[in-house]
Symmetry: C2
Subunit: 497 residues, 2 copies
C-alpha cells in the first residue's frame, strides 16, 4: 500500500493550487513587504537608512495617516456594543441625545444585538438605511431600491468576490477590467482560473474610458483566449486613475453590457471622493434606470460601496454593501446561497454602513459637529488631490493627470534609457525579474522611506511606467513625499543623462 500512496504524492513536498501561486496583489506586494522589513529595522535600531520613519502612500488607509473618525458614528458604535452604558444615566448625560437615541433605535431593530449572526444579507434596519441612501442619491429614478436587493458585506471586496465567483467558472469565462485597475480584480480572476480581458483607459484624456474600444477588447479576448466575457468592471471614480465618468460614457457601457448579456459590476467605493467642481458622481444605477427600455429593465447591474473610503474612512470596519439591479431570479438565488455560506458580514461593519448612509441631518443635535468634521476632512482631501497632481506634474520626468476623484495620483514616469539598462544588469546579478517601475519604487523606498506602488501592479500600456501614490498623508508628510520624489528623479537624470 505504501507504494500506492507514494505514487499519489505531489511531485514536490509542497503541493499548491497553481491558481493561487499565479495570483498577484501589488498593493501589499514586494514594495510594502520591503517597507515592513525596513520599519522593523528602524524600530530595532538595525540598518543604516537615510530617514527615521516611513510614509505609507501605498494603500488607501486614511486613519492610519491621521484622518480622524467621525464622532457621531463612533458614539453610536460604542453604545450598541455596550448597551449597559445606555442604562447608566450619568454616561448617557455625557453623550449627545441623538447618538443615544440612534443606538437605542438600532438595538431595538436588531433585537439580538451586535454579538449574534444576522440574516445572510445583514440586518434589515441597516439595509433599509442603505436603500434610503441609494434612493435619495439616485433622485428617485426608476423603481426604488429595496432591502431584498441589498446585501451588507465585509468591505466592497466581498461583493467583488461573490460576483466574480458566480460568473467565472474557469478558462472559458472572462472579465473585462480597466487597465490600469485595482489589483483585487486581477487577483480574483487568477484565483478562479478565468481570463482577464483588459480595456485600456486613455491617459491623455485624463484616464477617460474610451467606450469605442470596448467591442474590440471583447473581440480580442474571444479571438485570443476563446473565453466569453461575462462581466464588465467599471471603477468610478477610478482607482488608481482618479477619473470620474461622464453620463454619456456610462450609457455606452450600459448598452455594451446589455447587448452582450454581460453583468455590469460598478465599483463605486469612491463616490463621495469627487474633488473637481466640474465633475459630479452619477451612479450606474441612476444611469441604467434613466435609460429607455429594454436597457432600464434588463441590464444586469451590481453596484458596490464601502465604509473604507469617502470621508468616513473606516477601513478597519470592513463594512460595505452591494445593490443588485435587474438580476435574474436564478442568479439571485445563487447569490443568496454564496452569502449564506459566508454566514454574514461582521455586525460592526453593518452598523457603520448604516451610519454612513444615515448621518446626522440638519436640526439634529450632532449635525453641526458632523458637518464640521465632514467638511474638514473633505476639504483636506480636495486640497491634497490638487496639490499632489500639480506638484508631481512639475517633477522632472513625471507627468500627472488631474486627480478628479478617488484617493490616488497615478503619474507617468519617463526615465533615461540608462536606468532600464541598469535594472537589467541588477536583475541578472540578483537573480530576479523586477519590472523597471518596481525597481524605481524599491529604490525610492530605500533612499527616502516613501512607500508607493509601481504601475505594473495595476496594469499599464506596454512600454509605459507609472506609480500610484495616495493623497492621504497630512500636508507636512506630503511635502516630504514630494521632495523625496523630486530629488530621486533629479538624481536619476543626473546619473543617467
Amino acid at each position: 500500500m505504501l507504494r500506492r500512496v507514494a505514487r499519489h504524492l505531489a511531485p514536490t513536498s509542497c503541493h499548491l493550487n497553481p491558481r493561487v501561486v499565479e495570483a498577484e496583489y501589488a498593493v501589499r506586494g514586494l514594495i510594502p513587504s520591503r517597507a515592513d522589513e525596513i520599519k522593523a529595522d528602524l524600530a530595532a535600531g538595525r540598518g543604516a537608512y537615510p530617514f527615521d520613519s516611513l510614509v505609507y502612500c501605498n494603500i488607501g488607509n486614511p486613519q492610519s495617516l491621521g484622518q480622524m473618525p467621525l464622532t457621531f458614528h463612533r458614539q453610536v458604535m460604542a453604545l450598541v456594543d455596550a448597551p449597559f452604558m445606555l442604562e447608566d444615566a450619568e454616561i448617557v448625560a455625557r453623550l449627545p441625545a441623538d447618538a443615544v437615541a440612534r443606538a437605542r433605535g438600532y438595538l431595538a431593530a436588531m433585537g439580538t444585538g451586535t454579538g449574534a449572526y444576522t440574516e445572510s444579507f445583514g440586518y434589515s434596519f441597516a439595509r433599509a438605511a442603505v436603500a434610503a441612501y441609494i434612493n435619495e442619491q439616485d433622485r428617485g429614478v426608476g423603481p426604488a431600491a429595496t432591502v431584498e436587493n441589498i446585501c451588507l458585506t465585509d468591505g466592497a471586496s466581498m461583493g467583488v468576490k461573490v460576483f466574480l465567483q458566480l460568473l467565472v467558472g474557469g478558462a472559458s469565462d472572462a472579465v473585462m477590467i480597466p487597465m490600469p485597475q485595482y489589483p483585487l480584480y486581477s487577483a480574483q480572476i487568477a484565483l478562479l482560473g478565468g481570463v482577464k480581458a483588459p480595456y485600456y483607459l486613455c491617459e491623455t484624456e485624463g484616464w477617460g474610458m474610451p467606450t469605442s474600444g470596448l467591442a474590440a477588447a471583447y473581440e480580442r479576448c474571444v479571438a485570443e483566449s476563446g473565453a466569453t466575457p461575462r462581466v464588465l468592471v467599471c471603477i468610478n471614480p477610478g482607482n488608481p486613475t482618479g477619473n470620474v465618468l461622464e453620463r454619456c460614457v456610462m450609457e455606452d457601457a450600459v448598452r455594451f453590457c446589455h447587448e452582450r448579456g454581460m453583468l455590469l459590476l460598478a465599483d463605486e467605493v469612491y463616490q463621495e471622493n469627487v474633488y473637481d467642481p466640474l465633475r459630479q458622481f452619477v451612479s450606474f444605477r441612476e444611469v441604467v434606470l434613466g435609460m429607455p427600455a429594454p436597457y432600464c429593465t434588463e441590464t444586469m447591474l451590481v453596484s458596490l460601496h464601502s465604509t473604507s473610503k469617502g470621508v468616513i474612512g473606516e477601513c478597519g470596519r470592513r463594512g460595505g454593501y452591494f445593490c443588485m439591479t435587474n438580476l435574474p431570479r436564478a442568479m439571485r438565488e445563487q447569490v443568496v446561497k454564496l452569502c449564506s455560506i459566508n454566514l454574514c458580514a461582521n455586525v460592526n461593519g453593518q452598523v457603520m454602513t448604516a451610519l454612513m448612509c444615515s448621518p446626522p441631518r440638519e436640526g439634529d443635535v450632532s449635525y453641526a459637529l458632523y458637518r464640521r468634521e465632514y467638511d474638514g476632512i473633505f476639504s483636506d482631501l480636495k486640497e491634497r488631490a490638487a496639490l499632489l497632481a500639480r506638484e508631481l506634474g512639475a517633477v522632472r520626468g513625471l507627468s500627472c493627470q488631474p486627480v478628479e476623484g478617488a484617493m490616488y495620483a497615478f503619474p507617468r514616469i519617463t526615465l533615461p534609457a540608462g536606468y532600464g539598462v541598469r535594472n537589467e544588469e541588477l536583475n541578472a546579478k540578483e537573480g530576479r525579474q523586477l519590472a523597471v517601475d518596481t525597481r524605481w519604487a524599491l529604490e525610492l523606498l530605500e533612499s527616502s522611506g516613501v512607500v508607493v506602488v509601481p504601475g505594473s501592479g495595476f496594469g499599464q500600456e506596454p512600454g509605459t511606467l507609472h506609480f500610484r501614490t495616495t493623497i492621504l498623508p497630512p500636508l507636512a508628510q506630503m511635502e516630504r513625499v514630494l521632495r523625496a520624489i523630486r530629488e530621486f528623479q533629479n538624481g536619476i537624470f543626473e546619473r543617467h543623462a
Copy 2:
C-alpha cells in the same frame, strides 16, 4: 460582428459558474429559508400556524437566543471604538479601571486605532495575545507559538477557505472530511471543484473517529476519483456530533497525515465547549509537538479558532484566528499573499479575539464579574447538553449519543416505513426531491415552529436519518422544543404504524 457576439453568448440568458450552482449549505438552506418565510408571515399576521413564534435551533448563534455577552469584553470594545470617552473623566469613573487600562493599552499598541486597515495577519498586539493563550493551553510543549505563525481572521470560516483554496486546485485534489461534517467544508470543496473524500465517524461509539478507516478512505478516494487527498479535516469537539477526540486517536491522525504529506486542518472552534467531566480538550498542536521527530517537526498543521463559540459566543464579531505549525516556507508565502488580497480581518473581530485570549485574571477588578458570567454561561450550556441528549434519547424512534462537547445534538431518527413511502408520493406530487429527513424537518417546522437541520445536510451513513439541533435555547424554549419533537414523532408513529 453581432453574429460573433451571439455565438459567444451563454446558451441560457443566465450563465453561472457550475461549481457555485453545485455547492450546498444546509445550515442556512431550505429549512431555515422556510422558517424565515413563516417568521415574516407571523409578523404580518398572515397564514394559520399552530404556534406564534419560532425557535431557531439550526445555527450555533448563542446571543440570538438570549445568551449575554461578557461585560468586560464589551466595555473594552466600546472604549477602543470611542477613544474620546477615555478623555472624559466622568465616563472613565463609571467603568472598571482594568477595562479602561486595557482599552488604553490596546489603543497605544494599535497606534492607528480601530478605523484603519491592519497588517494582513492582523494587529501584532492581538496576535501576541493569541500566541500567549496557545502557549499556556499547550502547556509549553515544543517551540512556542509566535506572532508570525498566527493570522487573525473573519471568523474561523476564512481560515478554512484560505487553506482549502491553497491546496485544492481542481478535480485532482481531494479533502478528507468527517461524515457527518460541518457543511462549510463540503461547500468550499464544491466551489473549488475539488473532491470530497469522506471518512465516517462511528455513531455507536459516541461518534468517535475510527482512525483505522482513514487509510481505506484515502485509497477509496484515489481509486474512485483519481484525486489525491491533500488535507485531513478534523473537527474537535465535533460539529455536528459533539464528540471529543482522545489523544491516541489524534496521534493516529497525525501519523496518517505525516506519512502522506497531508495538511492536518484542525477545526477547534469548540475547544472551550467540553461538558463531559471525563473528557478534556487537547489541541492538535499539543499532540503534534508532543510526538517524537519527525512527527513533531514535519507534520503540517493549521489550527482554527473563533470568537463565535466557546462561552464568549460573539458570532456577530466574525473574529477568529489560525495558527500554522510546520508549514513549509513556500506555503507560508502563499498564505501571506492570500491574506493580503483579503486586506485584513475586521478590527472589532481582532479586538474580540485578543480579549477572548486574555480575559481578566484573578486579582483584576473585573475578575469576579467575569468569572460569574463565564461560569453561568458554561453551566447553562453543560446542563442543556445533558438534558437534550437524555430527553431526545427517550423520544420514540430517536436515539442520541452523549453531547460531550460543542453545541449540538445529532440524534438518529428511525421512522415507520410508511413515512418514507409518503415522502416519495409527496415529492412526486410537488415535483421536488426532498430527502426523508428534510421532509421530517420541514414538517416539524410547519407543525411546531422548531427549526432544526436535517442530517443529510451534514452527511450520514447511507440509509440512516438524523437531525442537528443546538443546545442553545433557554430552558423554557428547550422544553418546548423537546415537547414538539416528542409529539411530532408520536404522531408519525401513530399515523404510520
